[in-house]
């Protein structure tokens, strides 16, 4: 019996192994050291084309991965180095330096970004959440309203952010006659709503049917089923969507240029005065010839990067703690 005629498995059966020294080596040559042993029937032959293709593609994938990491790592390293060196208490408590003046901070921009994101979230989270619940739980899949809403949300989630700014400019700034925190919040909310709507609907649809049946079978009404069973089960997915939307809104610049503008002082009236923000501070200060302002822009970049990092970690922590809907066996 020759080994090469064995298709699979049989070669491992001792009974079919050729006796020692039998000329059974047909799969590649053997080195002098194992001349007395028959070659393993499934020995790896590295000269075969498929091994070369395998290792070639592995090396290619690795190289391209490192290439993709180069800009990412260099941006992070630069932001950490330049921004990190600026960290101090004054950074968070002082107003930005006037042109050519040393020192200063970005307290008003940090507070401004917090205010803008809070206003935007207060508008977008309830609307997006309810729209998502409507799409996934209330509307029948064939209903034309649901089709239109879900199509609109998908289109809007790809909306160029500057259009949200122009829209809020027309709707809020022109009607109130002033750039304001309120206008900026509306612009950011327009960007957040579709993201929250779609991720909420997706998270709700992922809740297994058997859980809904259990609740309905217990005599829960539709509201009780959604509030007490479906929403808690989907909560980590919904939270992920909200954090995604918030961290996107926090870093947006274009919509704020048309709505919140910038303000050199601490936030004042929310409806009638412009308001500072980290993103617009970076936009304004990164192109100026004054070192102190450029330094502040680096520090603002670092804060935005760290905020995005914190949002990401929060999502991971919540997802890890979320109860699995899978049955453990």
């Amino acid at each position: 019996m020759t080994i090469s005629s064995q298709p699979f498995g049989h070669g491992l059966d001792p009974g079919t192994e050729p006796a020692q020294g039998t000329p059974g080596r047909k799969l590649g040559e053997s080195s002098p050291s194992d001349q007395n042993k028959p070659p393993h029937p499934f020995r790896r032959d590295l000269t075969q084309g498929r091994f070369l293709i395998d290792s070639g593609l592995t090396i290619l994938a690795l190289t391209l991965t490192f290439l993709a990491l180069v800009p990412l790592v260099s941006v992070l390293a630069l932001v950490l180095a330049r921004g990190g060196s600026m960290l101090s208490l004054e950074l968070f408590t002082d107003l930005p330096p006037a042109a050519g003046m040393p020192g200063g901070g970005l307290g008003n921009a940090l507070l401004g970004t917090l205010i803008l994101v809070t206003i935007a979230s207060a508008l977008a989270v309830p609307i997006g959440l309810m729209a998502g619940i409507y799409l996934a739980e209330v509307a029948s899949p064939e209903s034309s309203i649901a089709t239109v809403v879900s199509f609109a949300a998908k289109v809007l989630s790809g909306l160029p952010s500057i259009l949200a700014g122009v829209f809020a400019f027309a709707v809020v700034v022109l009607t109130t006659g002033s750039f304001s925190a309120w206008a900026g919040g509306v612009a950011l909310a327009i960007l957040m709503i579709p993201v929250i709507t779609l991720t909420t609907a997706e998270a709700l649809r992922a809740v297994p049917r058997k859980l809904r049946e259990a609740a309905v079978g217990m005599g829960a009404t539709r509201t009780q089923t959604i509030l007490q069973v479906v929403l808690p089960t989907a909560s980590s997915g919904i939270f992920t969507g909200i954090m995604l939307a918030v961290s996107r809104a926090a870093g947006e610049t274009a919509p704020l240029l048309f709505t919140a503008l910038f303000f050199d002082y601490w936030p004042e009236a929310p409806f009638t005065t412009p308001i500072a923000s980290l993103a617009v501070l970076i936009y304004n200060f990164s192109g100026v010839p004054y070192p102190s302002q450029i330094d502040i822009a680096w520090a603002a970049s670092l804060i935005l990067v760290v905020a995005a990092l914190i949002a990401n970690i929060a999502v991971r922590v919540v997802a890890a703690q979320a109860p699995s809907t899978q049955t453990r066996r």
Binding site: S140, P208, K210, L211, E213, A214, A215, V216, G217, M218, G219, A220, T221, Q224, Q228, V229, P232, T233, P323, S324, T325, Q326, T327, R328, R329
Partner: protein
């Protein structure tokens, strides 16, 4: 605990005699949209007994079971011709609130489906829905004891219901269903996802629960029907002839249906000549 429906249904309608079944399920035609899923299936359910629905896949036995607590209402296009009388009252009457029906008739599903919350909260779910005024802790303990799960979970009532094994989860679902003291317990293939040891425990539990509840169980397993059921209903659909409409072939005391079936189809099914 009494729900409005229970109060309303507690006194049987005047025409009832003491031997009348607890549920009189009289399905003439049951549609999903244009599709006639079940026809001509009249099954009485006797109080304090276990009734098993057996038959091949697609014969409509689960559909009929889900008619008994109006779970089919969730399915688009569901339509019933006929009536389901509970203590003489039609639960498909226009004025009936299906939610109230489901609070009187508990259900246990094929897949164990505890909620993603603690064991105690799972069992207390129905109590909270019903705004139960009594001692929740006590009722939760009683229910878990009745479901033969208390000893296994008494030290971890606050860990997730999903941390239990499949068999324990199914007993948790039974505890959850009986916590609100329903009159009737519907079980839709409760053991099909379980190993033989867990199945044995559920079967023992069913025989125990029979003292307090009326149980209807759908099962693929004829031996299980023989072991636990007092009455058995055999449903059938001849898919080989292109049939898609299930219907009742035979209903009777379990021993009679298995030992001395009236219909040739029943006999052949019980002999395992088709499945």
């Amino acid at each position: 605990m009494s729900t409005p429906l229970q109060d309303a249904l507690g006194t049987p309608a005047s025409s009832q005699t003491t031997t009348a079944p607890l549920i009189n399920c009289a399905i003439d035609r049951l549609y999903y949209g244009d599709f006639l899923a079940v026809r001509d299936s009249h099954v009485p359910i006797t109080k304090g007994t276990i009734t098993a629905f057996i038959g091949p896949s697609g014969c409509g036995k689960s559909t009929v079971l889900r008619c008994l607590n109006r779970m089919n209402d969730l399915i688009r296009g569901f339509r019933l011709e006929g009536q389901v009388l509970l203590n003489g009252h039609d639960i498909y009457a226009p004025e009936v609130d299906p939610v109230a029906v489901r609070r009187t008739i508990g259900m246990v599903f094929q897949q164990p489906n505890p909620f993603a919350m603690s064991i105690a909260k799972n069992v207390g779910f129905g109590l909270r829905l019903n705004r139960f005024k009594g001692n929740h802790q006590e009722r939760i303990r009683e229910s878990l004891e009745a479901a033969a799960l208390w000893d296994e979970v008494k030290d971890k009532l606050h860990s997730s219901g999903l941390s239990l094994s499949g068999g324990q989860q199914q007993r948790l679902c039974i505890a959850r269903a009986i916590a609100t003291c329903p009159e009737i317990l519907l079980m839709d293939e409760p053991c099909s996802a379980l190993d033989p040891i867990a199945t044995k425990k559920i079967e023992d539990l069913m025989l125990e629960l029979k003292k307090d509840y009326t149980i209807v169980i759908v099962t693929h397993n004829m031996d299980q029907a023989r072991r636990v059921a007092d009455y058995t209903a055999f449903f059938y659909v001849d898919t080989t002839q292109g049939g898609r409409t299930g219907h009742l072939i035979e209903y009777g005391p379990t021993y009679q249906l298995f030992e001395n079936p009236l219909h040739e189809t029943t006999a052949r099914y019980i002999r395992g000549e088709f499945s």
